[in-house]
Amino acid sequence: MFAGLNFRGTSVRWALWPIFLPLLFVLLAPYAMTWRFAGGRLYWPEGATELLGRSLLMAGGTAALAVLLGLILVPGALRAQGVFTWALILPAAVPALVPILTWLDLFPGWRGLTAVIFVQAIMNAGLVAVSLARGLESRWAGAVELAIAEGASPRMIWRRALLSGLSGELRQGFTFVLAVALTSFSIPLVLGGRQAINFEMGIYQALQLEMNWSAALSLSLIQLLLLVFLVTLLRPRGEDQMATRARLREHLGSRWSLALGLLPAAAMLGTLLARAGIGVAQFDPTLWRELPRAILASGLVAFGTSVFVALGLWLVARGLPDQRERQWLSAYTTPSAVLLGFATLALGEGHGFEMDLLRIIVGCSLMFAPALWRWRIAPRLAELDRQVEVARCLGARDSLIAARVVVPAIRNDLAWVAGLAAFWAWGDFALSSVVAGRSQSLALVARDLMQAYRLEAAALCIVLCLLMGIVQAAITQNLLRRRE
């Protein structure tokens, strides 16, 4: 596994072990545990072919629809600036509880495969659009300007040049959403209906309902192979050319498309606030009693997760991973939220309050850290490559470079990822469902209320999750940021 790594010096490589060990734990512990319970038996489980077909259908359908919607929203993404860009990405970044509740509110009877496809596609469409818009700005800005100068209309440019020119970005977007949808758990869990419609659900059912460890292990290995294949297809994007961005916005941007792209975020916000207002009246004494404990638990989970994530990524950065090592780390994807959840059982037996929280914290940290690494830390470290090279030329040892150049330079990024990890942890109920013996956190209480169709009360809990998450994220970021 480490054959491709460039071992420059023992001290540096040792510095990378704190991240490799958790990764190894995540990768191996679930398999080791299930291997033991399965008695070393691997087989093609009954119904696996059907599950594979459904899983691919669900993920493929989600990816195709997300890319189609993303294309429609590209002019809007080109038009969007600042907060509007964030609003386009928001559905993909908020905890899954929010889009689920919105869907249940707008389409109460619509569940099953198509519901899952639509929800996931709408969640990811804005993100795909922004990503396509950035690709357009970085690779086609000059050519588009030239075409406009030569008299081509925006429609002609879209039809004749950009659709074929963006084929690489479209493939990347499709592959990314496909990989996300293959491993999604929370949305199929609530909206998928009785039948398992993807591998995560299959694994969950095999373990939770049937205690069939062999089937779970076999299914997760099939999923892992699929994921590894997909991740190898993902390539980093090119660099932005900000100078021409404003002109592209003017020529190809569209207010209508932007308005369409903002609809999901607006619908989510509208549904949440409308329901939450009624939800206050629906809160019975039992719920009011449960609330402080759930808030405390969620706060502790968010705090622990942000600390673990920031600490883990800080350790990685201190190790000064080179380009190849960064690619290796970026290629890593948490194999399965369900298996990861079960793997945290290795931390200790029993389902007490503290043990449940510890498991959720470890699970959430290991689930969020790879995504946050890819999103923020890896690109930032790539930007620092030249500075690290200069420092090496000046004769600096790696420990000095890490302490004086790299860590101070990425401190604000670490603060940012710690804050986001805290925000996501407030809303996690997928992994927590697997890990916790009872509904310890606020997000789990919200899930219980949703499953009981008490949507107003659930909305109030979700609003609380979001508000508390935002406050804790802001405090975390503020505490960790570098003072100028």
Binding site: R386, Q387, E389, V390, A391, R392, C393, L394, G395, A396, R397, L400, R404, V405, P408, A409, R482
Partner: protein, 217 residues
């Protein structure tokens, strides 16, 4: 003369092939060539940032010949100024300089005089406390030069150090570089495609094209 031998490396669609190259022990050797000719690759291999099998760089050091290619990046003790200077933006000019001194493991007390002289020579006093990201192009260039020289390098490598400066500032910067290099008695390799750099600074000129040396004078 210091001798470079076996600088041969295959890249994707490009071959760098320099069996022998001689750099002057004094003054500035200019490596001149158009974009894509392999100048920067040569520089990166010399610094040790890029590996190159079979490459040797023989240099006179305190009366004995040593092969720098056998040493690590740190132990080669080279000074480098890149085109974009690559100062550490979150550190002040002073901190950039003290980082370089600390990186070389220099004793602060014994370095103080040298540091003071470089600061004075390069007129850095007014900007010492300013963060590097707030400095102008010319100021950055002067700090980068002081940072490269603080560790008393065996050789100074300069990668188009005037390219980011305005035309007005270039002549002044060239003159300053020439004087400082003379005072420090530090040989330098200057990578450039600007004929004005050659006219102002070169004691020896080597032309490179398509990864091969064309002439040396």
């Amino acid at each position: 003369m210091s001798q470079i031998r076996g600088l041969i490396k295959d890249y994707d669609g490009f071959r760098l092939e320099i069996p022998l190259m001689e750099l002057s022990d004094q003054g500035v050797t200019v490596l001149r060539g158009p974009s894509g000719s392999g100048k920067t690759s040569v520089l990166r291999i010399l610094t040790g940032l890029e590996p190159c099998d079979g490459f040797e760089w023989w240099i006179q050091d305190q009366g004995r010949e040593i092969n720098l290619a056998e040493l690590s990046v740190r132990d080669r003790r080279l000074g480098v100024v890149f085109q974009s200077y690559e100062l550490f933006p979150h550190l002040s000019a002073q901190q950039n300089l003290s980082f370089a001194a600390e990186a070389r493991g220099l004793d602060p007390a014994s370095t103080a005089n040298r540091l003071r002289r470089l600061i004075q020579r390069l007129s850095l006093e007014p900007i010492l406390e300013r963060r590097a990201e707030k400095l102008s192009g010319g100021e950055k260039q002067r700090v980068a030069l002081a940072r490269a020289l603080i560790g008393q390098p065996r050789f100074l490598l300069l990668d188009e150090p005037f390219a980011a400066l305005d035309q007005d500032l270039r002549a002044e910067a060239r003159q300053l570089l020439q004087q400082v290099l003379h005072e420090e008695a530090c040989p330098a390799l200057l990578v450039t495609h600007d004929p004005a750099d050659v006219d102002a600074l070169a004691t020896k000129v080597i032309d490179i094209e398509n990864g091969r040396l064309r002439s040396s004078k």
